[in-house]
């Protein structure tokens, strides 16, 4: 192990010498080298597009700890019983087939001066261009009484996989007539309609399995994404089950006790059977380690998603602070393609086209009752700026809502194929 590491370091030193030459080359391959950290909607897409479109001219390495990636998007549908966990899991075999070197490890260090990434396993990788797409982490002390050590008692379930399964298990184990509580996050956060789709899916599950149960949502915000659509859906489908406590009624003044399983909202203590705490969010930790964050997020240039702190580092998706786009898998995927085009142009001289971004978020309220919101965006000097958008209407026919749901399923197939090949 030590010997291997020394060998690796030796190679890296040689590569560092090469880096000082005008044309940057990666160790061994003689090709420009891109390292991508994070294999979700931003990182997997960027890695795949750079490898696919450069047809072997660029050496692309993806660092992702998990071997099977469980999407956070559609995880609410698993809670509602509309999807199996297996349907949300994706392997990286397609990326490897597209020519991406996939390394399952944690990136624990970024040295931007020597252009090196350090992995938990000890390896150091050099890059000409670094793409950070680490998703989100949680802000410390955002919810009084909660930290990540409490995530088994009170799951966030805001990263796909085991947390989602835990929350589902807790939901299924609720006593008859029990209380499911959610502490909703403040803006900005991953997937703006996500908490409210989750409330809908939990209500759907409880209506069938535990109809006298109650749902309480403590929310620090006065309003939320697709609010009118969700509230209409809750009233029509889950009348009386859901109690949403917004900012006005102290929804932001909460404290939890993971041992006693209580939630205090504006001083009023409620005993809860399940407590889904979704704390305030920040960029995934590696962005902070790389020194490209300002506050909680990593500011980027809209034209190519490059970091405002370093022209050779790019930040995609939830971790970036880019302007008007919501933090979503769709957005990350859209940003990744603009970024991939720019990186390929910079490293191989291929054509670079103007940045165009788009996003659509579908949410499921009840069986065959889907709604959507979307917008297009463009790059300005200051930010990614919204161009045009739409949102589903209240009072739509069941046919329209069903078509919207079927469209969301088509999107899931599309985006996961676009990410993972």
């Amino acid at each position: 192990m030590t010997i291997n590491r020394r060998k690796f370091l030796g190679a890296t030193v040689a590569a560092s010498a090469a880096l000082s030459a005008p044309m940057a080359l990666a160790a061994g391959t003689g090709k420009p080298r891109v390292v991508v950290i994070g294999g979700g909607a931003g990182g997997a897409t960027a890695a795949r597009y750079i490898a696919k479109d450069s047809k072997g001219e660029i050496d692309v390495t993806l660092i992702e700890p998990t071997r099977t990636y469980y999407t956070c998007f559609f995880s609410n549908l698993y809670l509602g019983g509309f999807k199996e966990m297996d349907e949300l899991g994706h392997s990286y075999g397609g990326l490897a087939a597209a020519g991406v070197n996939v390394i399952h490890d944690w990136a624990i260090g970024v040295d931007r001066d020597s252009k090196q990434v350090t992995l938990a396993g000890g390896a150091k990788l050099t890059y000409d261009k670094l793409v950070l797409s680490p998703g989100i982490d949680f802000v410390d002390n955002a919810v009084a009484g909660w930290d990540v050590t409490a995530q088994n008692a009170m799951p966030h379930a805001y990263k796909g996989g085991s947390q989602t399964e835990l929350l589902k298990a807790q939901l299924a184990a609720m006593p008859e007539g029990g209380v499911f509580a959610m502490v909703a996050p403040p803006n900005p956060y991953r997937c703006p309609p996500g908490p409210y789709e989750r409330v809908s899916m939990v209500a759907h599950y409880l209506k069938a399995n535990n109809p006298t149960a109650k749902i309480i949502v403590a929310d620090p915000k006065p309003k939320f994404s697709k609010m009118a659509l969700f509230q209409e859906g809750w009233a029509n489908n889950y009348g009386g089950m859901i109690d949403w406590v917004g900012e006005e009624f102290g929804g932001g003044n909460v404290e939890v006790d993971p041992n006693g399983m209580t939630l205090s909202i504006d001083g009023e203590v409620v005993s809860v059977d399940v407590c889904n705490v979704i704390p305030a969010m920040k960029a995934g930790k590696i962005a902070e380690i790389a020194g490209v964050t300002q506050g909680n997020w990593a500011p980027v240039n809209a034209a190519d998603m490059s970091s405002k702190a370093d022209a050779d580092v790019y930040v995609l998706g939830d971790a970036s602070q880019q302007g008007d786009m919501p933090k979503s898998g769709f957005s990350a995927n859209s940003q990744a393609k603009v970024c991939a085009n720019a990186i390929r142009g910079a490293l191989t001289g291929s054509r670079v086209f103007p940045a165009k971004f788009s996003n659509t978020c579908w949410s499921l309220i009840d069986t065959d009752n889907g709604v959507k919101v979307g917008a297009t965006y463009e790059a300005t000097d200051e930010k990614i700026a919204k161009v045009d958008g739409f949102i589903s209407s209240t009072g739509e026919s069941s046919e329209v809502r069903k078509a919207t749901y079927l469209e969301s399923e088509g999107w899931y197939s599309g985006i996961t194929a676009d990410m993972f090949g």
């Binding site: 769709f330 165009k356 788009s358 045009d388 399923e409 999107w411 599309g414």
Partner: protein, 228 residues
């Protein structure tokens, strides 16, 4: 003599139907599914569809008439097929309005769909089971100059990455239609129909809303290049 007569009849009917096609007649496949119940006692469509009293309707859009082996077609339909009848949207629209008038001697004992919206809807529904994924636009057209534009395939590949967030690049339909291998004119027409809000899908209207003519041409050229 009889053949000639039927050919004249066909031409007249087609001309009338094209003339009467209205902007609102672009169909809704979901509404069409309901309308299709009237057809379903004789015609199957979709996976495992078999020929029953009537032939299965998979890939009917754009298909030459009377082309399935083993189906007993009427002499009238076989004659029309020999004269080159293709089930494009205009022909289906005219046939479904009044089958026995459109094709005297047809075996199809169906009174017809008098509402143009129902015809458009059921055609849109059938189009979801057809490889030529859309019906040609009735009553909507783009200028010959726009249709004649040469698309920049490399630009189309970049722009097309926005499409493949939802549309499978394999061309498969998994809830959202495949868009590869289309005839470029059909593709361009469909995109402009969304852009002009003539076709009804809010995501497509949004995405096409900011595409310039040359960008639509580029997309058409790129997705055509991917093949079926």
């Amino acid at each position: 003599m009889l053949l000639d007569f039927s050919r004249i009849g066909l031409c007249v009917t087609l001309a009338v139907s094209a003339f009467s096609a209205h902007a609102e007649s672009v169909g809704d496949p979901d509404a069409g599914k309901k309308v299709y119940r009237k057809c379903a006692s004789c015609h199957m469509v979709g996976d495992d569809a078999r020929d029953r009293v009537g032939p299965n309707l998979n890939n009917i859009i754009g298909a030459p008439a009377a082309n399935i082996d083993g189906v007993k077609y009427s002499k009238a339909l076989k004659n029309a097929a020999a004269d080159g009848l293709v089930w494009d949207e205009a022909a289906l629209n005219a046939f479904l309005e009044a089958p026995k008038k459109y094709l005297p001697g047809t075996r199809m004992s169906f009174r017809g769909l008098t509402k143009s919206s129902e015809r458009a809807d059921v055609i849109a529904y059938l189009a979801t089971y057809s490889d030529s994924s859309i019906a040609p636009e009735a009553g909507f057209s783009v200028s010959p100059e726009i249709l004649a534009m040469d698309g920049d395939v490399a630009y189309g590949e970049y722009l097309g990455s926005e499409c493949t967030t939802c549309h499978l690049s394999s061309g498969a339909n998994d809830g959202i239609p495949g868009i590869t291998g289309w005839d470029e004119a059909d593709f361009v027409t469909a995109m402009h129909a969304y852009k002009e809000k003539y076709r009804d899908n809010s995501v497509m209207q949004m995405v096409t809303g900011r595409l310039a003519n040359d960008e639509i041409a580029a997309l058409a050229a790129y997705f055509k290049s991917l093949g079926n």
